[in-house]
Amino acid sequence: MVAAETMGGMHSGHSEDLPGHVSNPGSDFMVDVLKAANIEYVAMMTSSALRGLQESIAYYGKNKAPELIICPHEEIAVGVAHGYAKMAGKPMACMVHSTVGLMHASMAIYNAWCDRVPLMVIGGNTADATKRRQGVEWIHTAVDQAAMVRDFVKFDDFPGSLQHFAESFMRAQALSMTPPMEPVLILADGELQEVPAEDPKSLKIPKMVEVSPPEGDARSVAKAAAILLAAKNPVIVVDRSARTAEGVGLLIKLAEALNAPVVDQCGRMNMPTTHYLNHTWLKAKLLRSADVILALEVGDLWGVVNTISDTPGRPSKRVAKPDVRVISISTNHLYSKSNYGDIQRYQEAELTMAADAQATMPSLIEAIRKGTTAAQATAIAARKQPMQADFLAMRNAARDAAALGWDASPISTARLSQEIWAQIKNDKWSLVSDPFYVSYWQHRLWDISEYKQFIGGSGGYGLGYGLSAAVGAALACKSEGRIAINIQPDGDLLMVPSALWTLAHHKIPLLTLMHNNRAWHQETMHLQRMGTRRDRNAESWREGTLIEEPFVDYAMMAKSMGVWAEGPISDPALLGPAIKRALAVVRSGLPALLDVVTQPR
């Protein structure tokens, strides 16, 4: 009944309205565009507003490059594209249904935007109001559909012709891939998809282009080199500095040219954890004594130089010396939008280069090498041995810390981490989850040395990124036989549990180990602060932050969607053998999940 009122003409019984056959629909051409743009996968939640395009991908495009990756939620589809892009080094597309689908997708687009990740969002809309069937189709169209996400996409368009679609798609992809990389949105008009392409011979698909990223100018680079060479305690801080494996190699060369310690904020895999100049866990001490700070693609420069305390009155204080010389090289200086706080508090730098750090490093290294005096070379060389000693002490301190609570139940996050490491360290692997929630043990203890062994975090801290992005990253790992490891917070999984179905449906090998602390633990701590600071109840945090009564059975959840699973496991002695069984499943090309009951952090 409802359907007859709202689903449009299909139920109206006017047989004379039935259309005839359509050959050469516009959406076939759209598939040609996707192919020309080298789009390998399209993650999507099936959508009537994109039915023409979906049918064309499946039939005309033979569901191959692009292949549809079916997701039960638009937020998952975008999250998959987010994780994929970071592992594959190129964007994939995701198709999200009209108004409501884009609304579902918006949080995930925001994550990708904050994380500087390229992806192509394709939405559906119908511009010509006379072509919309009554009811749902009206509700699922908008005058300016992109408006709802315009603050966090770099570019959007609603092409009015197929030629326009081809040009806009290619422009959008080039913009998306130009640092700072960001998501983009193209709306595919319903009529344009479904009516035959007019004059198909006249249509031209522009070639895909690679835009060279902006490099720091020679004068600024020379000045930066001079400042760094004059420094006694230079510190390099990196966040999303490496875009490719080459970026890791360059950072090593730069750090070695100065024997300067590197503090990695882990937005990407920037600096090998095995390198004697990776001093990430000595950050506080280093920043206090630094005379020069070189910040490479650091999103929050203020937070490097200062800190603000989560205590009443929110007092802030400077961490760095008052006369520290700060150099910032980042494409963030080239692009900003005012509405969302991703821009962070303003911090001036003595030398600011609106440039891509990776692209600028070769000339900076060269300028340092050429400009090093004999005295400077001696001073730099003298730093090596103390740097090595500090590095070893840092790594061994982490090891001692990891031993604490080793046999505890719930299982310590350090133990969880090392039980995995022991079984994958000789494989080709990648950590595709955010180590923030598990006390960064992997970065403190594992040998992470290749770019693809780590992909950073969510960017926007929007829950639901974790599993979705892990699916996408694992999809990109599949073709190269890399084992993707996802340490999965329970709260995040509860946002997007149906991503498990996508894993099973597409046979994507991903090893998921639940970091099941049975809480939205970040909030548990926030609520604890509230009750205690108000000096009235140190137990009110239980209300609304614990995932108990009942506990969620994640193994049963995974199995219900076709994913091999075991658990809950809370005895640390049982974990190693369970990981072995799960890895056997993953090595056979299928996903596996272990529900591990863990310490909170």
Binding site: T311, R395, Y440, R536, A538
Partner: protein, 114 residues
């Protein structure tokens, strides 16, 4: 409530000492008052709070710290955690078995061994 619990625990445990009972309720308090959230259930520490073991602060210093933390830890007044309760939290931590040394754990290889 706590007193009742201690008493009943002590009664149940019969010949076992008060210390055991105190340690038991200390664990309860350590969990309920949320110390575990940042310091871990056995005081091992995490990214959110330092380890409290193996070098447990002597009670006097421990109490001063919990009442007037130096930094971002929220202060626990006597109103939300009495002196007696804080003592049993301390006793709980003191009662925990030592963690194994890193050198005895094969899954924790020494750095620089490569």
């Amino acid at each position: 409530m706590n007193l009742l619990k201690k008493v009943s625990c002590a009664a149940l445990l019969g010949i076992f000492s008060q210390v055991v009972a105190a340690a038991d309720s200390g664990h309860d308090l350590y969990m309920k008052r949320g110390c575990y959230q940042c310091h871990g259930t056995v005081g091992q520490g995490s990214i959110a709070g330092p380890n409290l073991l193996p070098k447990l602060m002597p009670y006097a210093a421990f109490a001063i710290y919990v009442r007037t933390p130096a930094n971002q830890m929220p202060p626990f007044s006597e109103k939300v955690l009495s002196d007696a309760e804080l003592r049993s939290v301390h006793a709980y931590l003191a009662s925990l078995p030592a963690s194994p040394a890193a050198d005895s754990i094969s899954l924790l290889p020494k750095a620089g061994g490569k």
